[in-house]
């Protein structure tokens, strides 16, 4: 496919999808849905084409596409450089799956949806995908902002479109407000630059940023960073995320968690390394360290809160907070190391590679997990794990793929999650031995926290998978579940395949990372550093210490595992033929029922107690006794963990503001002489002030 015409094609696909789903809805909602998703699929494929074309094309290749002049005061254009192409690639990767998954899911999940709703969903999905793709391709502030808000708006529509109950509306509201606040900050950051440059296109902004004084530069960066952080769900700006993402239809949740957050990462990278980067010398000291710190906090808190969720999709959403944190650790490290004299360059490349690789990895496995949760949801209509269980026997494909995703997200070999975390660790270690003094300690601490995060994630997904899919069904919903329709399975298989491929042969993915690393760092590219010893080997050559660098080969390890599994399987069959029978689980001789199965709450309880200080758990136990307190009829236990940021900050602020405005409103007596008095007073004061002003 001709790459240059690709952008037009992609835009055409998404546009056609949006319009057709609006127009066809009058005929039939299902048709509209189908056509809309088909167009989205085509658009995603086109996106993949463009991205690969640029990424694997001639080095430094950039395709630019001027847009018609919509506003007299701004020249709009699109441009796909290495970075844009990479994120476009990530977006399209998941978009393909989502478009494939969508129709069947929506039909199965809400069969009674009216055509208006289906039209809205088809329309919004296309707009959402399109605007996400074009945010990454924007080459001027205006296009960026438009697509950015379009992205927010479309996802908002999708969130509130799923069920028309108050919960979704509230979630959507919180989401919109925080996103809007973030956009406001971005707006200011952009406008300060545009005022200096007098134009909106990035080229002019770069030029304007070249002669900024350090203070302004840093202010601008943190304005932009907090704007993007609000979108990326960085702690403490994350509260909207675990509410909004689960509320959306599952394939949209996959997109929001897997991809939309990454667009914010794109923005951070674009600002830090491209728009605001000084002409020469390293980035200002504070940037990288703060990003690193924030990332670490997000990673740990995200997974800790995820541990205590019983809502499957909410749990996954919290894990997005964690993974964004991990990505930010890499990004922050790259910022710290960039252009440091010595071998900082190579290390920076390692760090950035880790971050970018984790970006695509997270997109893949988080997408997979959300789709899995979606097919559970559309078959059982239950999101609470405590009401599920025993699904592995009823939905084997979904279960298997979900397990795959769980292993991947827990950063366990031989899957892709491990690779990017390994690279992050290597970057951390390398820089730790480089920065002596407290800086090094901070980095090492980050490493320890990262390790903790990995362990907790594993615990969390043992719970998520075990309680949802294993044991006995706890309710009739789970009892009568059946396997999801093939198109949904296919979508999950696609993402699962990506996870395996990126895990077993990550070396082959490195060339994809060359373009972005080159665009941002102008230093050694990813494959020059990471796969220096051949595509099958991940290594951190050119490491600072000069000593023999670490090298691992995922492929070899996978092969080793495979062969050992084969051997073990023989062993498993036993040394001699022996009888094999099934019997009920041992429950001390009592007749086992589903009530014997460990619940999610119980599973997470020890960790809840260990980290009590962070959770502030709330529990109430009500006992029904038969007459005497010694005979218990039943005990009812209810407990929950509160998100500190949410309760301590957001709710408080919200209460204060509404109370204040209520009070102010109550003050107004609709008395006309009061009105007149205000007019007179205004005039009088104005006159006096003008006199004093002279």
């Amino acid at each position: 496919m001709d790459v240059d015409s690709g952008l037009g094609l992609m835009a055409a696909c998404y546009g056609a999808g949006a319009l057709s789903s609006l127009l066809l809805a009058r005929l039939s909602g299902r048709l509209a849905l189908g056509v809309g998703h088909l167009a989205a699929f085509a658009g995603a494929v086109a996106g993949l084409g463009i991205a690969l074309g640029v990424l694997l094309g001639a080095p430094g290749r950039t395709l630019t596409q001027p847009l018609p002049i919509l506003f007299p005061f701004a020249r709009l254009s699109l441009s796909v450089d290495g970075l844009s192409a990479y994120f476009l690639f990530v977006i399209s990767l998941v978009a393909v799956a989502a478009a494939l998954y969508g129709p069947a899911y929506l039909r199965a999940h809400s069969p009674d949806a009216g055509p208006a709703r289906q039209a809205a969903q088809g329309f919004a999905l296309n707009v959402f995908l399109g605007s996400m793709a074009f945010v990454c391709c924007a080459d001027d502030a205006l296009t960026f902002l438009f697509c950015w808000e379009g992205m927010t708006l479309a996802s908002y529509v999708l969130v509130v479109s799923d069920d028309r109950d108050g919960e979704n509306a509230r979630a959507g509201l919180l989401y919109m407000v925080m996103a809007h606040g973030g956009t406001a900050l971005l707006l200011v950051a952009f406008l300060i630059l545009t005022e200096r440059s007098g134009a909106f296109d990035f080229m002019a902004l770069r030029a304007a940023a070249r002669d900024l004084d350090p203070a302004t530069r840093t202010t601008l960066f943190f304005l932009a960073f907090s704007g993007f952080a609000a979108k990326a769900g960085v702690v403490p700006l994350h509260v909207w995320l675990p509410r909004a993402h689960p509320a959306a239809p599952s394939h949209v949740s996959a997109l929001m968690s897997g991809v939309m957050l990454k667009v914010a990462i794109y923005g951070i990278l674009r600002f830090a390394f491209d728009l605001l980067a000084p002409v020469a010398g390293p980035l200002p000291f504070s940037w990288g360290w703060i990003v690193l710190f924030v990332g670490t906090i997000s990673a740990v808190l995200g997974v800790l809160y995820a541990l205590q969720q019983h809502d499957l999709k909410r749990l996954l959403a919290f894990h997005s907070v964690e993974n964004i944190g991990i990505i930010l650790i890499g990004v922050g490290l790259a910022m710290i190391l960039w252009r440091q004299e010595g071998v900082g360059g190579a290390l920076a490349t390692v760090a950035l590679t880790a971050a970018l690789l984790h970006t695509v990895n997270h997109a893949a496995f988080k997408g997979l997990l959300f789709l899995g949760a979606g097919s559970v949801l559309c078959r059982t209509h239950v999101r609470n794990m405590e009401e599920l269980g025993g699904l592995a026997r009823r939905m084997p494909w979904t279960a298997g793929l979900f397990l795959l995703g769980a292993i991947a997200i827990s950063a366990l070999p031989p899957l892709n999650g491990f690779v990017s975390e390994w690279l992050t660790f290597q970057a951390l270690l390398g820089s730790a031995s480089r920065f002596h003094g407290p800086a090094g300690l901070v980095i090492v601490f980050a490493a320890a926290m990262l390790a903790l995060t990995g362990g907790l994630a594993a615990a969390c997904f043992v719970k998520a998978f075990g309680v949802t899919f294993l044991g006995r069904p706890r309710t009739s919903h789970a009892e009568h579940a059946t396997e999801a329709p093939p198109s949904m399975i296919a979508a999950m298989v696609w993402l699962g395949a990506v996870c395996v491929a990126l895990g077993v042969a990550p070396g082959y993915a490195m060339p994809l990372l060359d373009a972005p690393t080159a665009t941002l760092l102008h230093g050694p590219v990813a494959s020059a550093v990471v796969t220096a010893r051949g595509p099958l080997v991940l290594s951190t050559a050119l490491m600072p210490s000069g000593a023999d660098a670490t090298a691992i080969s995922m492929t070899m390890v996978a092969a080793l595992l495979l062969s050992l599994t084969a051997i073990a399987w023989i062993l498993r069959r036993g040394l001699q033929p022996a009888l094999h029978r099934a019997a009920p689980t041992w429950t001390c001789g009592m007749k086992p029922t589903s009530r014997f199965d460990y619940t999610a709450t119980a599973f997470a309880k020890p960790l809840r107690l260990v980290f009590e200080a962070l959770y502030h758990p709330r529990r109430e136990v009500t006992r029904e006794t038969a007459g005497t307190p010694y005979v218990l009829r039943r005990i009812h236990y209810a407990g929950e963990v509160v998100d500190l940021a949410e309760t301590q900050v957001y709710h408080r602020v919200e209460r204060e503001i509404s109370a204040l405005s209520q009070a102010i409103r109550a003050r107004s007596t609709g008395r006309i002489y009061g009105y007149i008095g205000f007019v007179l007073g205004a005039l009088f004061v104005a006159l006096l002030l003008s006199e004093l002003g002279r």
Partner: protein
């Protein structure tokens, strides 16, 4: 760089670990028995148990999914694979990139993950309880272990265990820096936790309320259980081997057959020493309450962090 350890050697070391695994357990049991003034079973008892298990038939929970049968296979495979990354008889990186300490820990974590999943598969309270507790302790142990690894890795500039051992060379206690001592102390604190022994876990008990790891094996039987048991033996020796590779000199790199034999002898000695340590700890301490374990590990964490700090500052 040219690797000192060709594929054959690596596989050899791996098999050696697998084979020697039960022996270590047996030795520890024997020493414990002695220390508790009992006769105790023979050192080879674990082998007998294993062969018996592999002959028996299997009883599987009727609620378990198809996954359940393959769990032991994957677990043992992952654990054994982890054994491939430890230098046993000869220091120095392998001739070809394979895996490093992080990969090793990752594979052990994978094994643990699968074990816990398997434990939940059968349903019933004990599996869940075991899994829950195991997955509570593990996330607390892993970071500390990693920091111990880092504390040596930062000096060597690599996380590949063979290279680490080579970097340490044959330097012995006298050549240790304060960081090494602290790191080693942390390692000693962690060993019982990682090998599932008192004071963190109690491998002998089958009293449901006290067991962690054993609880997860309850529903396994016959060859499946055999695999799980073998896996835990291997896991134990692998951890011990890591500890010895990190802190004690491994057979000199590039030495010939003699060197290998010397290395093997040295290895046996080191393993024995650490086994004695484990036996002593097990028979001189009581098992901790589950919620005291974090404090216990906290000590290890502090040691490791200090070790790192000393390396960096």
């Amino acid at each position: 760089m040219t690797g000192e350890r060709p594929l054959a050697l690596v596989l050899l070391e791996m098999t050696l670990l697998v084979l020697a695994g039960p022996l270590v357990t047996g030795a520890i049991q024997k020493m414990k028995a002695r220390l508790q003034c009992r006769q105790g079973a023979g050192v080879l008892q674990p082998y007998r148990d294993l062969t018996k298990l592999f002959r028996k038939g299997t009883v599987q929970a009727d609620t378990a999914s198809g996954l359940f049968r393959s769990i032991p296979v994957l677990v043992v495979a992952a654990t054994v694979a982890a054994g491939a990354f430890v230098p046993v008889v000869r220091a120095g990186p392998p001739a070809f990139p394979l895996g490093d300490a992080l990969m090793l820990l990752g594979l052990l974590a994978l094994a643990r993950f699968l074990t816990a999943v398997g434990a939940l598969d059968a349903g019933g309270a004990f599996g869940g309880m075991g899994a829950s507790r195991e997955m509570t302790i593990a996330p607390l142990v892993e970071p500390v272990l990693m920091m111990v690894v880092f504390s040596t890795a930062i000096a060597a500039g690599t996380t590949e265990l063979g290279a680490l051992a080579a970097h340490r060379g044959t330097s012995w206690l006298l050549a240790w820096s304060a960081a090494d001592f602290l790191g080693f102390a942390a390692m000693l604190l962690l060993l019982p936790a990682e090998t599932g022994r008192i004071p963190v876990d109690n491998p002998d008990t089958h009293l449901e309320l006290t067991m962690l790891h054993e609880g997860m094996l309850l529903e396994h039987s016959g060859p499946g259980l055999g695999c799980m048991v073998l896996a835990s033996h291997t896991r134990q020796i692998v951890i011990v081997a890591v500890a010895s590779a990190l802190f004690f000199p491994v057979g000199p790199a590039g030495a010939g057959v003699v060197g290998v034999l010397v290395g093997a002898g040295a290895f046996a000695g080191k393993i024995l020493a650490l086994a004695i340590y484990l036996a002593l700890v097990e028979s001189s301490y009581a098992k901790l309450r589950l919620f005291r374990v974090p404090q216990y590990l906290g000590v290890g964490f502090v040691c490791a962090l200090t070790a790192l700090a000393l390396r960096i500052l």
